[in-house]
């Protein structure tokens, strides 16, 4: 749609522990676009997501992210002793977002008062995605978002992602299972 990309990788190489995972990677992600990263275990899918998030330095090449980014990876990053609504509200305050919107989108409304430590694996995954939905950042980076989600959770994710794309957002997703999204770009590593 728009000319200015939300994420641009140019000739990016990634080296982890002295091993070259990939090199010469180009990717441009504009508004309303989805890119799917696939590949076997250890091919560098998660590293690519962390590169795009700015958590890893590229061994070569350029990574450009003009706007804010929301990341959902394997880590919960929520305070486990307090209730879910409070834990998400902390991040929503930092993002200038609204925690309630994310919880509603991921079907977590009934769990607002439950302490985070009591949540199941799938519920934790939903909470991670709820933070992402609540953040209002235009670029989503998803690392295996469907891991641990049940059918209903996956439907929630697909619906939220479709709404995000319709809103002019972009999604970079690393996954080896389908998450119900039409990927405009497919990147295969390894």
């Amino acid at each position: 749609m728009s000319a200015a990309p939300l994420l641009r990788l140019e000739g990016v190489a990634c080296r982890r522990g002295g091993r070259l995972l990939f090199e010469g990677l180009d990717l441009q992600l504009g508004r309303g676009e989805t890119a799917l990263v696939s590949g076997p275990n250890g091919a560098g899918k998660s590293s690519l997501i962390r590169l795009a998030a700015g958590l890893l330095e590229a061994a070569a090449g350029k990574v450009e992210r003009p706007g804010p980014v929301a990341l959902a990876d394997e880590f919960l990053a929520l305070d486990t002793k307090i209730r879910l609504a409070g834990a998400l509200a902390l991040w929503a305050r930092l993002d200038g977002g609204e925690a309630g919107r994310g919880m509603a989108a991921m079907g977590l409304d009934g769990l607002a008062d439950v302490p985070v430590r009591m949540l199941s694996t799938g519920q934790r995954k939903r909470a991670v995605l709820a933070r992402l939905v609540a953040s209002a950042a235009p670029l989503w980076l998803l690392d295996e978002p469907a891991n641990g989600l049940d059918a209903e959770g996956q439907a929630c994710l697909a619906k939220a992602a479709a709404a995000h794309l319709a809103d002019g957002g972009a999604i970079l997703v690393a996954s080896h299972q389908p998450i119900g999204l039409e990927a405009g770009v497919e990147l295969r590593l390894g």
């Binding site: 998030a53 700015g54 958590l55 804010p68 990341l71 002793k81 307090i82 930092l94 933070r131």
Partner: protein, 213 residues
């Protein structure tokens, strides 16, 4: 920033971690007379120094909980993704940590000096020293916590890293608490403490960033 400081305070108090240093401090004050005997003049002469040693060792206790849980849970990553500098995160941690470390220790010093039968002027000088010195101790704790985050066993290493660096605080702190201490001791203690506080956000921030790759 204020949200991060408040979060640190909540983590310190809900986990009960903030209670450990003052309890440890009091325990040392209780045990010290058993070790050296209940001789009042001897306790009056050595008690303040023993309490400073206790404060130093108490500063080691929060090393495990300051940075590592946030690193392991991905909180530090999520903050970085939001463009919040590691230095800013470290500064918030330092502020939150001092509030849950310094004042409780100063409060614990009241019963501790009573247990050791220290005279009132010594108590006043000890409190003044703790007020000036605990920010420096908190800064050292944070630096060591950031350096050792991600390592499997931190206990012994943290002690080896922190205690030598805390020597100036111990010297000037215990010197200030001694009878007839020169006023310069307070200023030197404050200066050392200030220096550590100024370095800590950058040192801890760099350590957090380095620990990511």
């Amino acid at each position: 920033m204020s949200a991060l400081v408040l979060r640190e305070l909540r983590l310190a108090w809900t986990g009960g971690g903030a209670l450990l240093p003052p309890l440890f401090f009091l325990l040392v004050a209780t045990l010290f007379p058993f070790a050296v005997g209940p001789d009042a003049p001897l306790l009056a002469r050595t008690g303040a120094g023993a309490l400073w040693m206790a404060a130093l060792l108490a500063a080691l206790l929060p090393v495990d909980r300051l940075v590592e849980p946030d690193r392991a849970a991905g909180v530090l990553d999520q903050l970085a993704v939001r463009g919040i500098a590691e230095e800013q995160v470290a500064l918030a941690k330092l502020a939150g940590h001092w509030v849950s470390f310094g004042p409780p220790l100063m409060l614990a010093a009241l019963p501790a000096t009573a247990l050791l039968r220290l005279p009132a002027p010594t108590l006043a000088r000890l409190e003044l020293g703790l007020l000036a010195g605990t920010p420096g101790l908190a800064a050292l704790t944070l630096i060591v916590a950031a350096l050792t985050a991600g390592l499997r066993t931190t206990g012994a290493l943290a002690g080896l890293l922190l205690l030598p660096l805390a020597v100036p605080i111990l010297i000037f702190g215990a010197g200030l608490a001694a009878e007839g201490a020169p006023a310069a001791a307070a200023r030197l203690l404050a200066a050392v403490s200030l220096l550590l506080v100024a370095i800590a956000p950058f040192a801890a921030g760099a350590a957090i960033r380095a620990g990511r790759s």
